[in-house]
């Protein structure tokens, strides 16, 4: 990030202590009444000025949701969710009818993002930092998108990058064709809730043959108390196109749990590629007691629809009280490829159950899974993965590697790989290791003058390197720092 944002990050660190993004923005907010009902669904749809088809879709999902059971198979433990005790819509009053030009955005919001180190002012980005590639950002604050940068420049290339609310209005054909095609509302209870009450998120369409001229990113922030965030992201890469997309997230420190149930759908056509990266840093809850923190229940799935389609998920998960997340790939097109690179760090009382599903349908489909789990404190960290080879997936290949690193004696690491192969020609390889942080390594570093926390961050970043190196350059450095921050308090 630029030097300005570094400074602001440091300021925020002083304000909030351990969790650097833990401050609250004091801004006037418009909220829906508390609780969940058909009326709330109508309220959200109305607020967004949505067409009837969208409201109908939401209501159908809502009715389905009422009947669906909670998923209970993950290795996470929390009291039953009280869906009536949360707000489902909160928007900064100044946001008005949705995103507008940056000049009209409430200065308090701009300030918030500056504190977080998210550059929004296009001119500054372009003028200020030469050695940094500009990144287009869509910014979602609680339930609404407040700004999307570099829209014009992207438009020249034919790329559509806007909030999902705008896309519903301006590109209904695309939204209707693709929304719910990869993650249908009834997929699981959390995804179903999202389908009913999603408030904002990003929409990307890359036309045939276009290589998106810049990194795209969305930055999610939950600010309001007791407010769920239900964003929905839809990315379509048409034939022969390419896009790299990154999402980042933070929330203030709150004693109450905040629910975040997102859905991300990716559609990749012939010869196209999507590289999707996540740096997740939601508030993890209190270090000692585990009170508060975000419940991060996310459904992410990519459909490699066409031949030679390629998807790569890279995630660095350091935050949230509970992470329940399995970015997956449906490899339908012949020769299509799916990749999943994951670093999940849990500390304090955090719980993470994360992994991927690779569903091989087409011929010669390939998948690659590299998972690095790091557990510290009294946390629990589970890798859960499924590799499924369907009968027609002649010549399918999978390589899976799961490495777990334990810091201290009070944390847990678990690896749960499921494999289902229904084609004899498929070749699957699986490797797994579990190790403890080595005293020899720590001592070697401290003898060289590096203090124990920094030594730990260095060793863990080394352990996770195979994954970290898949992040876009612009974010890799920040992600490495985040690794260090999230391990604070785990040694000594």
């Amino acid at each position: 990030m630029s030097s300005v944002s570094k400074e602001t990050i440091a300021t925020v660190a002083d304000m909030a202590g351990r969790y650097e993004a833990g401050f609250v923005t004091d801004i006037e907010t418009e909220k829906a009444p508390k609780g969940l009902s058909e009326d709330i669904v109508r309220f959200i749809s109305g607020k967004k000025g949505e067409p009837d088809w969208m409201l109908g879709w939401r209501l159908k999902a809502y009715r389905k949701w009422l009947e669906m059971p909670e998923p209970e198979w993950a290795k996470v433990d929390f009291p039953p969710l009280d869906y009536q005790d949360a707000y489902y819509y909160a928007a900064p009053k100044s946001a008005g009818d949705g995103p507008k030009s940056l000049d009209d955005v409430d200065p308090k919001l701009l300030e918030t993002y500056e504190k977080l180190g998210i550059p929004l002012r296009e001119q500054e980005i372009l003028a200020g930092v030469q050695n940094r590639t500009p990144v287009a950002v869509d910014v979602v604050f609680d339930s609404v998108s407040v700004a999307t940068t570099f829209k014009e420049k992207l438009k020249e290339a034919g790329v559509i990058f806007c909030s999902i609310s705008e896309a519903i209005k301006n590109h209904p054909d695309l939204v209707q064709k693709y929304m719910g095609s990869v993650v249908p509302p009834g997929d699981n209870k959390h995804a179903c809730l999202n389908s009913a009450v999603f408030t904002d998120g990003s929409f990307v369409y890359i036309p045939p043959g276009v290589r998106c001229p810049m990194e795209l990113s969305t930055y999610f922030r939950i600010n309001e108390l007791n407010t769920g965030q239900f964003e929905r992201t839809l990315i379509i890469a048409d034939k022969g196109s390419y896009v790299s997309y990154l999402e980042g997230c933070t929330a203030p420190m709150r004693d109450e749990n905040q629910l975040h149930a997102a859905v991300v759908e990716l559609i990749v056509h012939d010869d196209a590629e999507i590289k999707y990266s996540t740096v997740q840093n939601w508030y993890p809850g209190d270090f000692e007691t585990g009170q508060g923190g975000v419940y991060n229940f996310v459904t992410k799935r990519a459909l490699c629809e066409g031949r030679n389609a390629k998807v790569s998920w890279t995630q660095v998960e350091t935050g949230s009280a509970i992470t329940w997340k399995y970015p997956s790939c449906i490899l339908k097109g012949d020769n299509s490829q799916g990749e999943f690179y994951s670093v999940a760090i849990t500390n304090g009382r955090q719980q993470a159950d994360t992994g991927t599903k690779m569903i091989h349908i087409g011929k010669n489909t390939k998948s690659r899974i590299i998972s690095k789990g790091i557990s510290a404190g009294r946390s629990n960290n589970t890798y859960r993965g499924l590799v499924k080879i369907l009968p027609k997936a002649e010549g399918a290949r999978n390589f899976t590697q799961c490495d777990s690193l334990l810091i201290g004696d009070h944390c847990g690491a678990h690896t749960v790989p499921y494999i289902e192969s229904r084609n004899k020609s498929a070749r699957l390889e699986h490797e797994a290791t579990t190790s403890k942080i080595s005293e020899d390594q720590l001592f070697y570093c401290t003898q060289r003058g590096i203090d124990e926390e920094e030594a730990l961050a260095l060793i863990v970043n080394g352990f996770a390197r195979e994954v970290m190196q898949h992040l876009p350059m612009e974010f890799a450095v920040e992600a490495q720092k985040l690794v260090g921050i999230s391990l604070e308090g785990s040694v000594g």
């Binding site: 080595s438 005293e439 020899d440 390594q441 001592f443 070697y444 570093c445 401290t446 003898q447 060289r448 003058g449 590096i450 203090d451 124990e452 920094e454 260095l458 060793i459 970043n461 080394g462 352990f463 996770a464 390197r465 195979e466």
Partner: protein, 253 residues
């Protein structure tokens, strides 16, 4: 420079605490090179670890001062910043952390503790390149993970490289010669000799006197069963070469 007095240290084993250093006293004035020789298992590595502050060992008595600073009171990284460097007998592998990142982090950590500005990437690169050139280390070694897949000779040379870069005032070399062929040994010795200066001292731990042909010590000590049993000039090393350690093992026992 370094002043050790009646140092006792033990380690926790399954059968309770076991004393390994049994009252070591040693004085290494500024500018001098002292050698410590002794049979396997006599406590040489233990002494180096205790000086560097490894947690597994409990100091049960005695004092260690470096230029008047009580080392035993400091964390390992603080001892490093105070000027203590240990070239490990068995350098540790750190997968995924490349040498230049590691060196950068170490140098800047020490500079920070000493109140100096951090070096920027360019200045750092220049220093690393210069030090590599002096020690005949190929640049591409800096892109490899710390000690991972290094040959025995590369590992030892890497220890000397780090020693040169961190500018310590007191260097402990724990069997840096073992496993080296004569050419590698010379490179290591040249590296050490280039660093000799009136305000830097060395404690060279070795099993064989061969290294001492290249790094000429001012004083030679014999360590056996956790005690220093004999001290003399360089000629003592030659004597040991001829007679072996048997007499000391008997003397103490």
């Amino acid at each position: 420079m370094l002043h050790i007095e009646d140092l006792h240290a033990s380690i926790e084993t399954d059968d309770g605490a076991r004393e390994i250093l049994k009252g070591i006293s040693l004085d290494v004035p500024a500018g001098q090179v002292h050698a410590i020789m002794g049979p396997n298992g006599s406590g040489k590595s233990t002494l180096s670890y205790v000086l560097a502050g490894r947690e597994d060992y409990e100091v049960t008595g005695g004092t260690v001062e470096l230029d008047g600073i009580d080392l035993l009171d400091l964390e390992p990284e603080e001892r490093a910043a105070a000027g203590l460097f240990l070239a490990f007998q068995y350098p540790v592998e750190i997968p995924g952390v490349n040498m230049s990142t590691f060196l950068k982090t170490a140098i800047n950590s020490i500079r920070k503790q000493r109140g100096a500005d951090e070096l920027d990437a360019l200045a750092m690169l220049k220093r690393i390149k210069a030090a590599c050139a002096r020690l005949g280390i190929a640049d591409d070694m800096m892109k490899r993970s710390v000690n991972v897949g290094f040959s025995g000779g590369e590992k030892k040379r890497n220890e000397v490289l780090q020693m040169a870069m961190l500018e310590p005032k007191f260097c402990v070399l724990d069997e840096t010669d073992s496993g080296l062929d004569i050419d590698a040994l010379k490179v290591v010795a040249d590296g050490v000799n280039a660093m000799r200066s009136p305000d830097r001292s060395f404690l060279v731990i070795t099993h064989y006197q061969r290294l001492l042909d290249y790094i000429r010590p001012d004083v030679v000590h014999v360590l056996a069963k956790g005690k220093i049993v004999k001290t003399g000039g360089p000629e003592l090393a030659k004597e040991l070469e001829a007679t072996g350690y048997a007499e000391f093992l008997d003397e103490v026992a």
